[in-house]
């Protein structure tokens, strides 16, 4: 295998771990409430701008920007739940779809209006020189993003499967009424889910802000990547999202390298449409 191809695959895996992280948030909400958050990509966008501000205006590094973005976005998520999502759950389907869609537009164009349409980037060497492993070189921010992305996704999975909180959330997603009879407050669990989901976009956004271009409309692309990941991994499954995220990262990197950068989105979108058409329950999901 040529070293360039290896390089492409490794960088695909690293970005894929970040895709897995923010997609886990989307899949968590879907699994608990049967709601797609159409503003999920714009949550990531918001996190990227938050990290950008922490980085440029206050001179904080990733140690500051990641927790700050995570806290900010978790707050945004919980507020969205209490002010908006909680109320539309009982409404018609159109209202459910419209609500988070409207939120997406609101966030996207507020960023557009406030920050302008220009792409913002941080220098590649902001965390020091790239690491060299034999024939491949990896920029420090990408390595950091991939590692943290993977660890946090695994952590989220453990939180959901190995803790009492996770069991309570699972109970609410299985049957909210029965859970309530057992003394679990469904609304509190759903609010926590929104906080966790948005918090994961906060971490992911802060991680990729160091090497991705930040623009108001980046959320649109990221949202579709999250949809693909969730559809691929099965709706509601965090491990599924992890595997799918890594796969999509590699696929995207390979198609950018082999076919051309403009077509990487085409390949991913086409894959998404194909998966939805043929296996709407996801490749790894239950029927």
């Amino acid at each position: 295998m040529s070293s360039i191809l290896l390089q492409v695959i490794v960088s695909g895996l690293l970005i894929g771990a970040v895709y897995a992280l923010f997609s886990s948030g989307l899949t968590l909400i879907w699994g608990m409430m049967n709601v797609i958050n159409f503003a999920h990509g714009d949550f990531v966008m918001l996190a990227m701008y938050t990290a950008f501000i922490v980085w440029t205006a206050f001179g904080g590094g990733p140690l500051a920007s990641v927790p700050i973005a995570a806290m900010t976005l978790a707050t945004v998520g919980i507020l969205s739940y209490f002010l908006l999502v909680r109320h539309i759950m009982k409404g018609p389907m159109l209202a459910q779809i419209l609500s988070t869609f409207g939120l997406a537009l609101l966030l996207r164009y507020s960023a557009f209006w406030y920050f302008g349409a220009n792409f913002k980037t941080l220098p590649d060497t902001i965390l020091g020189p790239p690491f060299v492993f034999g024939p491949i070189r990896i920029d420090a921010p990408r390595l950091l993003a991939g590692t943290v992305g993977l660890l946090v996704t695994l952590g989220l999975h453990l939180l959901l499967t190995r803790t009492a909180l996770g069991s309570r959330m699972l109970a609410v997603s299985e049957d909210a009424t029965a859970a309530q009879l057992m003394g679990i407050r469904p609304e509190r669990m759903q609010a926590i889910a929104w906080g966790l989901a948005a918090g994961s976009t906060g971490i992911a956004g802060a991680l990729i802000a160091a090497f991705f271009y930040t623009s108001p409309t980046v959320g649109e692309t990221l949202a579709i990547i999250a949809f693909v990941t969730v559809a691929f991994g099965g709706f509601g499954s965090v491990p599924g999202a992890l595997v799918a995220g890594l796969l999509i990262g590699v696929l995207e990197a390979l198609s950018a390298y082999l076919i051309g950068p403009v077509y990487k989105d085409v390949v991913v979108y086409a894959l998404f449409v194909l998966v939805l058409w043929t296996r709407p329950q996801g490749l790894m999901g239950k029927a």
């Binding site: 539309i88 018609p92 159109l94 459910q96 419209l98 537009l105 557009f112 579709i224 989105d265």
Partner: protein, 326 residues
């Protein structure tokens, strides 16, 4: 007896005389034409999104097909743009048939997600398709060669053209609403499972509505191209094109005959005002307002403005319906 016809009669008289009343201010004439154009698009969306309850966020595909067909016909074959309209409509119906069969099997959020993905896919492909101008887009005739080019400096001819198309579209919608198909579509919207169990061929009727809606949306696209003489991937296939149809119908009342028109009457002037007041920076702010309106409708007015004036008991989903929806 007279009172029954008073209000509709007044509306018709105003609609017909509007361009003459505003002849002194071309800006208002243009605004009128834009309202009608938006109402055509939103009413076309309403057939599948409102009546059948399949919330498509990808109707820009059909709008773009109509707009591009009109101008590509001119650029490559020297046809008058209006000649491209039927081609665009046919292409849109064909695309709808191809993507509708697998996509319409998905329900609720899945369907909306799939339509977004298909639309974005096609937008990226068109952006890289040089035959239709790639990212630059294509333009229509700069100066009208014959009257067939339908290129006018005044907005008045467009106004009457759009008014006629909208009237025909609303009449068609009204006929469908009264027909067996209309009842089927509403039954599917309320509960597809129940409709199927009562013998409604849900898949087939959803597809018919989708194809019809696609063809009519393409007509809206062609009319847009006719008036503006220019279309690029963003103004033809952009996600905001789909969103505008959706939000106009939802604001007025999705699944109601005049819902989209009411939505257009409110939102188009709002957009024009905010664009002209805020200048270049306003583009972003306009959509901030749009986003806020969508959130507010979803939160407080899920059935749209017209539902406020509807007689009869307020419809509230029952417990079992809510579970079905979830």
């Amino acid at each position: 007896m007279m009172r029954r016809y008073l209000l509709p009669g007044l509306a018709v008289v105003i609609a017909l005389s509007y361009p003459i009343l505003t002849a002194a201010t071309p800006v208002y004439q243009r605004l009128g034409a834009l309202v009608l154009l938006a109402a055509i698009g939103a009413s076309a969306w309403n057939l599948v999104g409102g009546y059948a309850g399949q919330v498509s966020v990808g109707h820009a595909v059909f709008f773009g097909a109509g707009a591009y067909a009109a101008l590509a016909g001119y650029t490559h074959f020297g046809l008058p743009p209006i000649a491209g309209a039927p081609i665009g409509a046919a292409v849109a119906v064909l695309i709808a048939a191809v993507i509708g069969v697998p996509t319409l099997r998905l329900s609720g959020h899945y369907f909306s997600m799939a339509t977004i993905a298909v639309a974005e896919l096609i937008r990226v492909l068109v952006t890289n398709w040089e035959w239709v101008g790639g990212a630059q887009g294509i333009t229509g005739p700069a100066v009208p060669r014959t009257v067939l080019d339908l290129s006018f400096t005044s907005a008045m001819p467009y106004y009457y053209l759009f008014l006629a198309v909208l009237a025909a579209l609303l009449f068609t919608t009204w006929r469908i609403e009264q027909s067996r198909m209309g009842f089927y579509l509403r039954a599917i919207k309320d509960s597809e499972r129940a409709a199927r169990s009562l013998g409604v061929a849900a898949g087939r009727h959803k597809l018919y509505a989708y194809m019809l809606s696609a063809g009519l949306t393409a007509v809206a696209g062609s009319l847009y191209a006719l008036m503006f003489g220019f279309v690029d991937p963003e103004s033809g296939f952009g996600i905001l094109i789909s969103v505008k149809m959706l939000i106009m119908a939802a604001l007025g009342g999705a699944g109601l005959l005049f819902g989209p028109l009411v939505g257009a009457l409110i939102l188009v002037p709002l957009e024009e005002i905010s664009n002209s007041l805020l200048g270049g920076k306003g583009a972003g702010l306009t959509f901030v307002v749009y986003g806020a309106i969508i959130v507010i409708i979803a939160r407080f007015l899920p059935s749209g403005l017209l539902a406020l004036f509807r007689r009869g008991p307020r419809q509230k989903p029952t417990e079992s319906e809510q579970r079905h929806a979830a």
